[in-house]
């Protein structure tokens, strides 16, 4: 059975190779090949899943060793896969949502002349993402980690003719690289500390590293956090995600909502033992999570671009997950659970947004929407279900997962627990506010578009079916997972489990969650439902303007990094020319000058030469005499 694991990755990889190298012959069938291989991968995953369910809880993990990758001295890396419950969860999510989005893209990209390539990239992404979650050591995970970064780069910049897309792609890759540096330093630290970087031995030894190793373990954990921040768009490396919306919408749904951006959560959960052994690092994790969930939410409130609003939301929701993961064993399972439910509803929301854009001539400004519910009923309903799920409407997926996280945050105890729980509650309120805002601006109110130019219409079947499936997931997944805490127990062998004890009981928390939710929705309705939405954005308060500009993060980056960097490189170029090269050319010039002086002795007059000869002879005589004298 474990031999099937490689097949999971191989299928999309073959697809990518076929589509990218296949040439024009595959232009007409390429998208179906890609979709088929994604579905094939999902089928394999399903087989493996049923097989896993059939085995005892302790014996569910599978391991496949393909070959030795890099053996140099004590450094030993394998190409080997590990499929345990955590990986399985991800594999199902990735292949499942991935297949749906492949299907959706068939319709969405129908008129793009480079569709074949798009599917090749999508398949490449699937392969890399699967590699990431299936790797049995950190180095192989790193390969997947950068692989998804590459796929993300290619897909964000898919419409390369748009300079903004190319810039966004580059930015995403670069910011991710900063995070990747964290991962690579973590691997180096792992190697020097433990002599290996395979998951099993490292995680076994993490707890027993002893006091001498705690500093090292903390450092490793912090570096892993840096990596997670880069990939999952957490503060301070969050700036790329908003720009990444330049990519085609299916990409935003798959990569920048459902799967890739959650890789940071996977990394932290997977390295749980390391974080558990480093409390300081855990504090950092929850701090990052809490800050980001508020940051993302605030940014999401101010954006008029529907995809960017959703991107802010993604940031915020992943903040929840990171925070949950940082809480330790009481949070891992809920982090993953929220991740899965988020995968469903956020992918659904993005696909819905894509569908809207598809019908609106690729208009993204919500201020030009309005009243679309009649024109796009399916989109409206699926989007609405996703909306209810994300704000945590009781009974839907988001409610179960988010509520648990808030509960776990309070359960952390002490001031820290109160702060975290408060932040999570506040986040929930703001989530309700901005999602309601999106909903109202898009589907309700009067139309703010020109009927002569735009003809909103429902999308084709290939697009609506995935949306419907995902809407089902958004509605029911959370509930299903929570029956007897099925999901938590499923993950227990991997993530370990601890039950937290919130200071004021689960009911109070749930009640509070529902109350803040209602407040958020009500505020949004007061602002955007009752009053007509102006077609051009009002100037807004200072906060609004800052939030529109991603809370000035980009401006900071621009001033400090871009301009500073440009200055630095320009200075260096000048120095290279004047100082480093100048030292050498300077020597040459000096020699030239000296020889110029000497050359003047060679004036061509015999008598001058004769004088020099006599001078030389005199010197010789003098030296001879002096030598004799000495």
């Amino acid at each position: 059975m474990e031999n099937l694991i490689a097949l999971l990755i191989a299928a999309p990889l073959v697809g990518a190779a076929l589509l990218l190298c296949g040439g024009k012959r595959l232009d007409r069938t390429g998208h179906w090949i890609g979709t088929l291989l994604a579905v094939a991968s999902f089928a394999v995953a399903a087989v493996l899943f049923t097989d896993m369910l059939g085995r005892a809880t302790d014996d569910r993990a599978l391991h496949q060793h393909l070959f030795t990758w890099i053996p140099v001295g004590g450094f030993h890396a394998d190409i080997a896969f590990q499929l345990d419950q955590l990986s399985m969860t991800f594999v199902l999510l990735i292949t499942g949502v991935g297949s749906l989005i492949h299907l959706y893209s068939v319709g969405y990209m129908a008129h793009d002349e480079r569709r074949r390539r798009f599917f090749g990239y999508l398949n490449l992404f699937l392969a890399a993402m699967l590699l990431l979650v299936l790797a049995d050591n950190y180095l192989l995970l790193y390969v997947g980690w950068e692989g998804v970064g590459l796929a993300s780069y290619l897909l964000i910049g898919f419409w390369q003719h748009k300079p903004s897309a190319a810039t966004a792609a580059k930015k995403a890759f670069l910011v991710n690289r900063v995070g990747d540096v964290g991962l690579s330093i973590a691997i180096m630290l792992l190697f020097t500390t433990f002599g290996t970087f395979a998951f099993a031995p490292v995680l076994d030894a993490a707890g027993t590293a002893g006091s001498a190793g705690e500093g090292k373990v903390t450092a490793i954990a912090l570096m892993l956090l840096l990596a997670a921040c880069g990939k999952s768009a957490q503060v301070p490396l969050q700036s790329w995600l908003g720009d990444a919306m330049e990519g085609p919408t299916p990409v935003s749904a798959l990569i920048h909502a459902a799967t890739m951006v959650t890789a940071g959560v996977y990394l932290i959960t997977r390295s749980g033992a390391l974080f558990d052994a480093a409390p300081a690092a855990q504090t950092a994790v929850v701090a990052v999570g809490a800050v980001t969930l508020l940051f993302g939410a605030i940014v999401g409130c101010a954006k008029d671009d529907i995809k960017k609003a959703l991107a802010g939301s993604t940031m915020s929701q992943i903040g929840y997950m990171i925070m949950a993961a940082g809480l330790g064993p009481i949070g891992y399972a809920f982090a993953i659970m929220h991740l899965v439910t988020h995968g469903f509803f956020k992918a659904g929301l993005f696909l819905g947004a894509g569908s809207v854009m598809h019908g609106m001539n690729d208009e993204v400004d919500m201020r030009r929407y309005g009243g679309l519910r009649k024109h796009m009923p399916v989109t409206f309903i699926t989007f609405g279900l996703g909306y209810l799920a994300i704000i945590g409407f009781p009974g839907l997926s988001g409610f179960f997962s988010k509520d648990k996280i808030i509960e776990a945050a309070f359960a952390k105890g002490g001031t820290e627990g109160l702060i975290l729980g408060g932040a999570a509650l506040l986040g929930a309120a703001i989530t309700a506010f901005y999602m309601t805002r999106v909903m109202l601006m898009t589907f309700f109110g009067e139309k703010r578009w020109d009927p002569d130019e735009v003809h909103p219409h429902e999308s084709p079947k290939t697009m609506t079916i995935p949306m419907i499936v995902l809407a089902f997931g958004s509605v029911f997944a959370g509930g299903l997972f929570s029956i007897n805490e099925a999901f938590v127990h499923w993950l227990e062998p991997v993530t370990s489990l601890a039950h937290g004890h919130p200071p004021f009981g689960a009911t109070v928390t749930t009640a509070a969650t529902v109350v803040v939710l209602l407040i958020g929705v009500a505020t949004a309705w007061l602002m955007y439902g009752r009053r007509p939405v102006p077609a051009t954005a009002p100037r807004g308060s200072v906060l609004t303007r800052a939030a529109r500009r991603d809370l000035l993060q980009d401006d900071f980056n621009h001033v400090v990094l871009v301009r500073g960097g440009t200055h630095l490189t320009d200075t260096l170029v000048r120095l290279d020319h004047t100082l480093v090269d100048g030292a050498v050319t300077g020597t040459a010039v000096t020699m030239g000058g000296l020889s110029g002086l000497l050359r003047r002795l060679q004036n061509g007059f015999v008598r001058s030469y004769a004088a020099q000869m006599v001078g030389g002879a005199a010197v010789l005589v003098a030296v001879t005499l002096l030598m004799r004298g000495v």
């Binding site: 060679q602 004036n603 061509g604 007059f605 015999v606 008598r607 030469y609 004769a610 006599v614």
Partner: protein, 99 residues
């Protein structure tokens, strides 16, 4: 009188000859100065011959004369040739050694 004085005389004549080579521009006179230097050397050789009590110094002086003769023959021929082509015997005018 000490025969060393001959050496002093030779040195003096040699120096005068050298200075002449440096100062004069007429190639013929320069040549004469060279002859003067050679003669000064010859005087020194002859004196040394006397000092050492053997004839080797005189032999060398003899060879010097022969070589000087040869040199004069060739040198004067060169001067004549140069004069023919350039209508001058000034060494400064023949400054083609410079690029």
């Amino acid at each position: 009188m000490n025969p060393v004085y001959y050496l002093y005389l030779a040195a003096l004549l040699f120096t005068i000859g050298a200075a002449g080579v440096l100062i004069r521009r007429n190639a013929i006179v320069v040549f004469m100065c060279i002859e003067l230097m050679l003669n000064a050397c010859n005087l020194a050789f002859v004196t040394f011959s006397r000092l050492h009590g053997n004839l080797d110094g005189q032999i060398i002086a003899f060879f010097t004369m022969v070589v000087a003769a040869a040199e004069v023959v060739v040198g004067l021929a060169i001067i004549v040739t140069i004069f023919r082509t350039r209508h001058t015997a000034s060494v400064d005018d023949a400054s083609l050694m410079k690029l």
